[in-house]
C-alpha cells in the first residue's frame, strides 16, 4: 500500500474523529447541558407575526 491512500485515509478519519471530539468538548462545557434561558430564548419568535387571513 503506497503512502497516498494512507495519507487520505488518515486525514479523513482524523478529521472525522476531531469533529467528534470537538462535539464532546462542546457538550462538556459548563452550561452546555442546561444553557441559561436568556432573553432570546424567552422572546417571541418571528412566526408570531400576524397571519394572513385563513381559508373560509
Amino acid at each position: 500500500m503506497s503512502i497516498e491512500p494512507i495519507l487520505f485515509m488518515c486525514l479523513t478519519m482524523g478529521g472525522v474523529l476531531g469533529l467528534n471530539v470537538l462535539c464532546i468538548i462542546l457538550w462538556l462545557r459548563p452550561n452546555a447541558r442546561h444553557p441559561p434561558n436568556d432573553a432570546r430564548a424567552a422572546a417571541p419568535d418571528a412566526s408570531d407575526a400576524p397571519a394572513k387571513p385563513a381559508e373560509p
Partner: protein, 650 residues
C-alpha cells in the same frame, strides 16, 4: 397550552443525540458509502464529499432542527404545521404535505429492506446459508428467491418467509412508535446505537484478522482510499458525493424536524445538529470503509473489489458479505452480527422517518397515540404488500426513485426557500441560535441563503436528467435468466467479461448483448404480459454454457432462440466456475447438463400502480389537511362570533 404540555419530550440529551444519530445512520453508511467512494475517485471522493457536507449537508441539518423546534413550539410535529410557521400563508401547509406523505411511502419499502436484514440475521444464526455437504448455497439466487424476483424455487418455495419477516419488522416499528418518543424511540436508540458500535468494532477486529484469502484488507483500503484526482474534473463524481451526503444525513424527510419539535427553547440546536452530523460521519467514514470492502478484498482478491463495489448496495451487503463470512470460521456468530448491525441501523432510521406521520395524526388530527399508531400501522402493512409481491417488477426501486430520491430534493428545496427567503434568514438564524451556546460561523448564513438552494436545484436537475437517460421514467420490461435447481452444483455460476467464444469484447459486446435483451423486452412490451422460456443446456469443460434447445412462450421464442440465448450468455460472460473440490476430482472437464429459465417481466402496470399509490397518498393527506384546517377556521370563527356577541350584550 394544554395540548403543548401533552406532547412528548425527550427524556435526556444523550438519548436525543443517539436517536438523531440513529435516524441518520442507516444501511447506506455501511454499504452505499464504500461503493460510491471506490467508484468515484477513491480518496479523492472525499474532497467533493466534504464540500457537499459543508455547502448543503450541514446547513440543511440546521434548517431541519430550527424549523422543527419552531413548529414544535406551536404544537406541530409535522411539516404542514411547521411550514405554516415559516410562511403565514394558506398554501404553506399544502407544501408541507411532502414531509408527511413521502416518509410514509419511504417506510413501505425501507422496512421491507430492513426485514431482509432481520431475515438474514436469522438465516445466519440457524446456519441456513452455510455450505452443506455436496453443495454450495448460491447467494445471488438465494437473495433473488427470498425476494421472489425469480421463479426458481431452490431455496424458498414461496413468499411465506419474506412475508413473515416483513410483518415482524413492521410490527416492531409500530410498537416502538406506539411507546412514544422517550419510552420508544429514545429507549431503542439507547440500546441499538451502542450495540451497533460494538458490532462494528467486533467485525472490524474480525476482518482485520482474516487471512488465507485471495487478497488482504490492505487491498480493500487501497482501492477505497487511493486518490484519483483526475476524477474530480467529472461532474458525475461531484453529484455522486452530493447524493451520498443527501442520503446519509436523512435530510429532506421531515423526520429530523419532527425530532426537533420535541425540544425545549433552551436546547442548543446548532450543537445538536453538528453532533448528529459528526456521529453519522463517524460510522460512515470509519466503519463504512473498514468493514465491507476490506472483507471482500480478503475473500475475492484485489482484482474483484472494483466489480463488487460497483455491483450496488445490496449485492455488497446481501451477496458478497455472506460469501465472505461463511468462508471463515464462526459464520453463525459473525454473520448474525453483520445482519443485526444492518438491521439496527435501518430500524433506528425507519422509526425516525415514520414519527412525523404519527405526529401528524396526533397533533393535527388530534388522535390518541394508540389510534395514530394503529392507523399508520395499517397503512404500513398495506403499503408493504406491493413492495413484496411486485418486487420482481421493480416496485422497491420505483418507490425509492420518487419518494427516496426526487422527493427528498424537492422537499429540501422548498424547506430551504421557506426558511431562508420567506421566513427570512435573519429570523431563521435567530431561531437556530435561540438558547444556543455554540455559535454557527457567520459564513453559513450566506451559504444557506444563496449556495444551498442553487446546489439543490443542480442536484435535482442532474438526477432527473439521469433518470431520463437511463429510462427510469419509462417502465421497460425486465429480462433475466436463472439456473434451475442450483443447489445441485457445488461450484458457482458467475457473470464477468465476455467469454472468448463471444469473439468480441468491451463496448461492442455490451451493445450486442443489449440488442438481444431489447428484442425480448420489445416483444414483452408489445404483447403486454410476463413471458417465460426454459432452456436445456450443457456446461462445457471450459465453463461456458452451450444452449441446446429453448421452449416456452411462443411470443418470447419469436425474439429469442437457443443460439441467441447462448450468444447472450457468452457476451455477458455467464459461465460456471467449478469448486476447488470439483477441480481436484476432475469433474470440471466433464460436460454436465443444466436447465436455464428465461424470464421477461412486463413491469409497466405494476410501476404505474406504485405511482398511483404515491399520488393517492399525497392526495389523501392534502384532503385531510384541507378538512382539518377548514374545521379549525370554522371553530375559530364561531368562537370569535360568540365572543363578539358576549361583548355586545349589556
Amino acid at each position: 397550552m394544554a395540548e403543548l404540555e401533552q406532547r412528548d419530550q425527550w427524556a435526556s440529551r444523550w438519548g436525543l443525540i443517539l436517536a438523531a444519530a440513529g435516524n441518520a445512520i442507516g444501511i447506506g453508511n455501511l454499504l452505499r458509502f464504500p461503493g460510491q467512494a471506490g467508484q468515484n475517485g477513491g480518496g479523492a471522493f472525499m474532497i467533493p464529499y466534504v464540500v457537499s457536507l459543508l455547502l448543503f449537508g450541514l446547513p440543511m441539518m440546521w434548517v431541519a432542527w430550527a424549523t422543527g423546534r419552531l413548529g414544535g413550539r406551536k404544537g406541530h410535529g409535522s411539516t404542514p404545521g411547521m411550514f405554516e410557521q415559516l410562511w403565514r400563508n394558506p398554501a404553506a401547509k399544502y407544501l408541507g404535505v411532502i414531509g408527511v406523505a413521502l416518509p410514509l411511502v419511504f417506510c413501505f419499502y425501507y422496512t421491507y429492506i430492513e426485514s431482509w436484514c432481520l431475515g438474514y440475521a436469522w438465516f445466519s444464526l440457524t446456519g441456513d446459508f452455510v455450505s452443506g455437504p455436496g453443495h454450495t448455497v448460491h447467494m445471488a439466487t438465494y437473495l433473488e428467491e427470498y425476494l421472489g424476483t425469480t421463479t426458481t424455487t431452490s431455496y424458498f418455495p414461496g413468499y411465506t418467509t419474506t412475508i413473515t419477516f416483513a410483518l415482524i419488522t413492521v410490527l416492531l416499528n409500530v410498537w416502538i412508535l406506539y411507546r412514544g418518543v422517550a419510552k420508544g424511540i429514545e429507549l431503542l436508540a439507547k440500546i441499538a446505537m451502542p450495540a451497533l458500535l460494538l458490532f462494528c468494532l467486533v467485525l472490524v477486529v474480525r476482518i482485520f484478522s482474516l487471512d488465507g484469502g485471495k487478497g488482504t484488507v490492505w487491498d480493500g483500503l487501497s482501492f477505497l482510499w487511493t486518490p484519483n484526482l483526475g476524477a474530480l474534473s467529472s461532474p458525475t463524481v461531484w453529484v455522486a458525493a452530493a447524493g451520498q451526503i443527501f442520503f446519509t444525513l436523512s435530510i429532506g424527510f421531515g423526520s429530523l424536524e419532527c425530532y426537533a419539535s420535541y425540544l425545549k427553547d433552551n436546547d442548543d440546536l446548532a450543537l445538536t445538529g453538528l453532533t448528529t452530523v459528526a456521529a453519522n460521519e463517524f460510522v460512515e467514514v470509519i466503519f463504512g470503509s473498514l468493514i465491507a470492502i476490506p472483507a471482500c478484498a480478503v475473500f475475492f482478491g484485489a482484482d474483484q473489489v472494483g466489480n463488487i463495489a460497483g455491483s450496488g448496495t445490496f449485492n455488497i451487503g446481501m451477496i458478497a458479505m455472506p460469501e465472505v463470512l461463511r468462508s471463515f470460521p464462526g459464520v453463525e456468530f459473525f454473520g448474525t452480527l453483520w445482519f443485526l448491525l444492518l438491521f439496527f441501523a435501518a430500524f433506528t432510521s425507519s422509526v425516525g422517518v415514520a414519527q412525523p406521520v404519527i405526529a401528524f395524526f396526533e397533533d393535527e388530527v388530534k388522535m390518541p397515540k394508540a389510534a395514530a399508531a394503529m392507523i399508520v400501522g395499517l397503512f404500513w402493512v398495506l403499503g408493504t404488500i406491493p413492495c413484496i409481491f411486485f418486487q420482481r417488477y421493480g416496485a422497491v426501486d420505483e418507490f425509492d426513485f420518487w419518494a427516496g430520491t426526487i422527493g427528498l430534493v424537492v422537499f429540501a428545496f422548498i424547506e430551504v426557500i421557506l426558511f431562508a427567503w420567506v421566513f427570512k434568514m435573519k429570523n431563521g438564524w435567530e431561531e437556530l441560535h435561540r438558547g444556543a451556546l455554540f455559535k454557527v460561523p457567520r459564513v453559513f448564513y450566506y451559504v444557506l441563503k444563496y449556495v444551498t438552494p442553487v446546489l439543490l436545484l443542480v442536484i435535482f436537475g442532474w438526477w432527473f436528467k439521469d433518470a431520463i437517460a437511463n429510462d427510469t421514467l419509462a417502465p421497460v420490461p425486465k429480462v433475466q435468466y436463472a439456473v434451475e435447481d442450483i443447489p445441485q452444483y457445488e461450484g458457482s455460476f458467475a457473470k464477468g467479461a465476455p467469454l472468448p467464444s463471444a469473439g468480441v469484447a468491451g463496448d461492442r459486446a455490451m451493445s450486442e448483448a443489449a440488442a438481444i435483451r431489447k428484442a425480448v423486452s420489445d416483444i414483452v412490451m408489445a404483447r403486454e404480459h410476463d413471458m417465460f422460456a426454459w432452456a436445456a443446456a450443457q456446461i462445457e469443460a471450459d465453463g461456458r454454457i452451450a444452449v441446446q434447445s429453448l421452449q416456452g412462450d411462443p411470443n418470447l421464442l419469436e425474439a429469442l432462440d437457443a443460439a441467441a440465448l447462448e450468444r447472450l450468455l457468452a457476451l455477458e460472460g455467464f459461465h460456471y466456475e467449478p469448486s476447488s473440490k470439483e477441480r481436484a476430482a476432475g469433474l470440471a472437464a466433464q460436460p454436465r447438463a443444466v436447465k436455464l429459465q428465461v424470464e421477461g417481466w412486463h413491469r409497466a402496470p405494476y410501476l404505474w400502480l406504485v405511482r398511483v399509490i404515491i399520488i393517492g397518498i399525497v392526495l389523501a393527506f392534502l384532503v385531510m389537511i384541507y378538512a382539518i384546517w377548514r374545521k379549525r377556521a370554522a371553530v375559530a370563527a364561531a368562537a370569535a362570533k360568540a365572543a363578539a356577541e358576549a361583548e355586545a350584550q349589556p
